[in-house]
């Protein structure tokens, strides 16, 4: 039987991706460690290992945990940037360890890895996420509607759906909130992630509690504390325009009054 065949295209990038195990390079991970069962002090520990530069920082952390020091502790699950477990400060910037390839962060120099800031450090890279989720829960992050449910789906135009598309992508990794200097010094600030999740509903045409959410974010610890440093937008591994979302909430609050 004849089948459709096309001329195969081959770019340099594809060739590079297809070459098997590249040469290994020596990588040093400098990890900020804290174990309350051992000491009340933080220590920086260097781990040197041979890695393929195409591997992830998470792979390097696993190599440490599995081969060098089993006590190194961090959270992770999906390993491809979808579950939000492994936000950490890598070379001074918040990222997901599973979405950061070694070759992209200058592996010639020691790579620093720290827990995200502004949350209680419980052990090594593990922080207490409760305050973060508390802020999320405090913005009514669920659809609220009035009246009778329709028998079929609620209708929503593709444009209305697109209005809040960006903020539906959030995986609650806390990279944004813990990159915010305001949050570092005052954990009562709702923080970018909670605002992003409020935005997702405020701008959903089906929702009817936008007013209440705006009122919550109009608070002392709400959107007005944002100083537009854009750290959150830079940190978001999902590419959400976080600062823009916050500004849109501010604008909604202003236009509500004026």
């Amino acid at each position: 039987m004849s089948t459709t065949t096309v001329e195969s295209k081959h770019s340099a990038a594809l060739d590079a991706a297809e070459t098997g195990d590249a040469h290994l390079i020596t990588v040093t991970l400098r990890v900020r460690r804290f174990n309350p069962e051992v000491s009340d002090q933080v220590v920086w520990v260097d781990y040197e290992m041979q890695m393929d530069p195409k591997e992830r920082v998470l792979d390097a952390l696993h190599k440490i945990k599995w081969e060098l020091d089993g006590t190194l502790t961090f959270r992770r699950s999906c390993a491809h940037g979808i579950c939000g477990s492994d936000a950490m400060r890598i070379n001074g910037r918040n990222r997901l360890a599973c979405k950061t390839l070694l070759k992209d962060i200058n592996p010639e120099k020691p790579i620093t890895v720290e827990p995200i800031k502004g949350l209680t450090v419980l052990k090594d890279l593990v922080v207490d996420m409760e305050p973060f989720f508390q802020a999320f829960r405090d913005v009514m992050p669920f659809l609220v509607t009035k009246g009778n449910e329709p028998t079929r789906e609620r209708l929503q135009s593709a444009e209305d759906r697109a209005r809040f598309d960006d903020t539906t992508k959030c995986i609650l990794c806390a990279a944004c909130t813990s990159s915010c200097p305001v949050f570092w010094n005052d954990g009562q600030y709702f923080g970018p992630a909670a605002i992003v999740n409020a935005h997702r509903f405020i701008f959903d045409s089906r929702d009817e509690a936008g007013e209440q959410r705006l009122e919550i974010l109009n608070d002392r610890d709400g959107v007005w504390r944002c100083r537009t440093t854009f750290n959150c937008t830079d940190a978001c591994p999902r590419g959400i325009e976080v600062t823009k979302a916050i500004q849109e909430v501010k604008r909604a609050l202003l236009t509500r009054r004026f």
């Binding site: 039987m1 089948t3 459709t4 065949t5 001329e7 195969s8 295209k9 770019s11 990038a13 594809l14 991706a17 297809e18 098997g20 069962e37 195409k54 945990k65 599995w66 081969e67 020091d69 089993g70 006590t71 502790t73 959270r75 699950s77 999906c78 390993a79 491809h80 940037g81 979808i82 579950c83 939000g84 477990s85 979405k99 390839l101 419980l122 052990k123 090594d124 593990v126 996420m129 989720f133 829960r137 669920f142 659809l143 509607t145 079929r152 789906e153 609620r154 209708l155 929503q156 135009s157 593709a158 759906r161 809040f164 539906t168 992508k169 959030c170 995986i171 509903f201 959903d204 590419g239």
Partner: protein, 584 residues
């Protein structure tokens, strides 16, 4: 040890667990125990969509969906269950929409639908648009929406609690559910949860394969806990290999990519699926496509310097379509491979994806202790369970459906059971097994490293129990696993602490994987036929005379304490569909 008392305890906060929790919380005092924060569950990784015959974009009905499910499962599907799945699918999707799920929309504002492998109109005539989706983030949206509604309903979560044991107590000669035992990651404390009803929704167990789309945490803890307590596991030999995982990494590229028009090509640029499935081509069912890919590779038509993969070609699709419908997977290709899917084909290979088998249940989600007897108060839903709606091979988009339909059903059933029954008295020293396990692990100072054993397990599973299997490879797998189990007895755990001791838990998880891999290999060895996801090169055809039946594996402990696996079989429920040859 702390003791808690709840009417209903749910183990797992993925799609199935949270769907159940929303129902159970309304009806009974409910606790959800989960080893991950709910939004970290692997349901969030699902991309393609959720099937339901909404007929929003073209003619469709649930009967066709039932047929496709049964045919897709190579007739090993229990047909009464498949009918429920397809019928309740419509409300399941509409319920999610009402909870707020942001589906993609048609120009009229309805939920949009797209094509997916194995879903056809009128019993196989042509591909039908049945998958409801939200870009390539359907699972993410389901997980977020369910969590949002759990917040709304005030569901009580115990996050980072690892359930390690199931408590059953014999009352009047009947095994009944008494509760579960959990290990709190933050403190190392052991908690006993006494419950009238328990629902297992702890997800899959794909981590015993090396190339897999599954998360590091999918280690089959629920299946293993039930197994250790003498409950059977059904159809464990049936494991799905998804055709399009990123080469070597296993990260999934949704079938929706082919639903949108993506094409598989070999090194000659040939659209080889036309040879294997003339009608459905690239959208044939997953087992068919995975085998086709490996056949191409074996026959020397694989791509790359080592000829060990093929291409998923999206380059003929307009970039706007990729951006709108497949934004995440195109980004995966950019991030992890450094290539641009607008212009380059993506190197892929089949990746271990989904466990069709699991804890046997009936259509109410009640767990079975043999072919017919239920364990009062015990339920299972989601990937951990085997209803069986997926039979020998699950159709894409049917699992997100499964977790919603059977999650809901078991949530309601469990809460109603709890309302009409009393607590069963806890056995004496309810935590003894877990205490013993944790202490043993903490004190483990042997010469073997967990990582070495895990790696060896994954390697033997990939080599011997993957897409193609033979008597010889499976025997190899069985003996390798047996040897690894011996080595596992002398592992060492370096972290001796109590707080966040993930080192210890990884060792426990490895134990679960070893148990389950053994069940898989032993069940596969005994099934001397090829059906769905289970392909035996030495028995390449389906054998309905001898094997139109579910495998039921039981753990037996001999008088000398020696463990062994006993296999039994359970008839398939057939209602209106007679087995036919499966062609796409």
């Amino acid at each position: 040890m702390q003791i808690h008392k709840y009417d209903t305890v749910i183990v797992g906060a993925g799609g199935a667990g949270m769907r159940a929790a929303i129902e159970a919380t309304k009806r009974s005092r409910t606790a959800v125990l989960t080893k991950l924060y709910p939004t970290r569950s692997h349901t969030g990784a699902a991309q393609g969509g959720m099937a339901a015959a909404l007929a929003n974009v073209e003619e469709d009905n649930w009967e066709w969906h039932t047929f496709d499910t049964i045919k897709g499962g190579d007739y090993l599907v229990d047909q009464d269950a498949a009918e429920i799945l397809a019928k309740e699918a419509i409300d399941a999707v509409l319920d999610l929409e009402k909870m707020g799920l942001p589906f993609n929309r048609t120009p009229e504002g309805r939920i949009d639908q797209r094509r997916f492998g194995g879903h056809t109109r009128n019993h196989g005539e042509a591909a039908v648009r049945r998958s409801c989706y939200a870009a390539d983030r359907t699972g993410h949206m389901i997980l977020q929406t369910l969590y949002q509604n759990c917040v709304k309903e005030g569901v009580e979560f115990f996050n980072e609690f690892y359930v390690l044991d199931l408590l059953l107590a014999e009352v009047d000669g009947v095994k009944r559910t008494a509760g579960v035992v959990a290990y709190e990651l933050a403190t190392g404390e052991i908690h006993v949860f006494q419950a009238k009803a328990v629902i297992f929704a702890s997800g899959g167990n794909g981590k015993f394969y090396k190339v897999t789309s599954n998360a590091h945490t999918l280690t089959g803890d629920g299946q293993a806990a039930a197994w250790r307590r003498g409950l059977p596991l059904e159809d464990m030999e049936f494991f799905q290999f998804h055709p399009t995982g990123i080469w070597r990494m296993g990260i999934l590229l949704t079938e929706g990519a082919r639903g949108e028009g993506g094409i598989l090509r070999n090194k000659d640029g040939e659209r080889f699926m036309e040879r294997y499935a003339p009608v459905m081509k690239d959208l044939a069912s997953r087992d068919v496509v995975s085998r086709a890919i490996y056949t191409e590779i074996r026959e020397g038509r694989g791509c790359g310097p080592e000829g060990d993969h093929v291409y998923l070609d999206l380059t003929h699709l307009p970039p706007e379509q990729l951006d709108a419908k497949l934004p995440d997977i195109t980004e995966f290709a950019r991030t992890y491979l450094g290539i641009e899917p607008y212009t380059d084909p993506v190197p892929i290979q089949p990746t271990a994806h989904y466990a069709m088998g699991g804890i046997p249940t009936n259509v109410q989600g009640e767990v079975l202790t043999d072919n017919t007897t239920v364990v009062p108060g015990l339920y299972a839903a989601g990937e951990v369970a085997c209803v069986s709606v997926h039979g020998a091979n699950r159709l894409g988009t049917n699992s997100l459906l499964d977790i919603n339909v059977f999650g809901r059903r078991s949530g309601i059933a469990a809460a109603e059971y709890a309302a009409t029954h009393d607590f069963v008295e806890l056995p004496e020293n309810p935590d003894s097994l877990v205490v013993e396990l944790v202490e043993r692990m903490r004190d483990a100072n042997g010469g073997e490293r967990v990582t070495d054993i895990r790696k060896a397990l994954q390697e033997t599973m990939d080599a011997n129990a993957m897409v193609f299997r033979t008597e010889q490879t499976l025997k190899q797998a069985v003996s390798d696993i047996a040897a690894l189990k011996v080595r596992y007895k002398s592992i060492s755990v370096q972290d001796k602490g109590k707080r966040y001791n993930t080192d210890l838990l990884e060792a426990v998880e490895l134990g679960n994987l070893l148990d389950l891999a053994e069940v898989l290999a032993v069940s596969a060895l005994a099934r001397k036929e090829s059906r769905g996801g289970h392909y035996r090169e030495d028995y390449p055809t389906r054998d309905d005379v001898n094997f139109m039946r579910h495998t039921m594996a039981y753990r037996e402990v001999g008088e000398d304490g020696e463990e062994s696996i006993r296999l039994d079989y359970k008839p398939v429920v057939q209602t209106r569909y007679q087995p036919m040859e499966r062609k796409y």
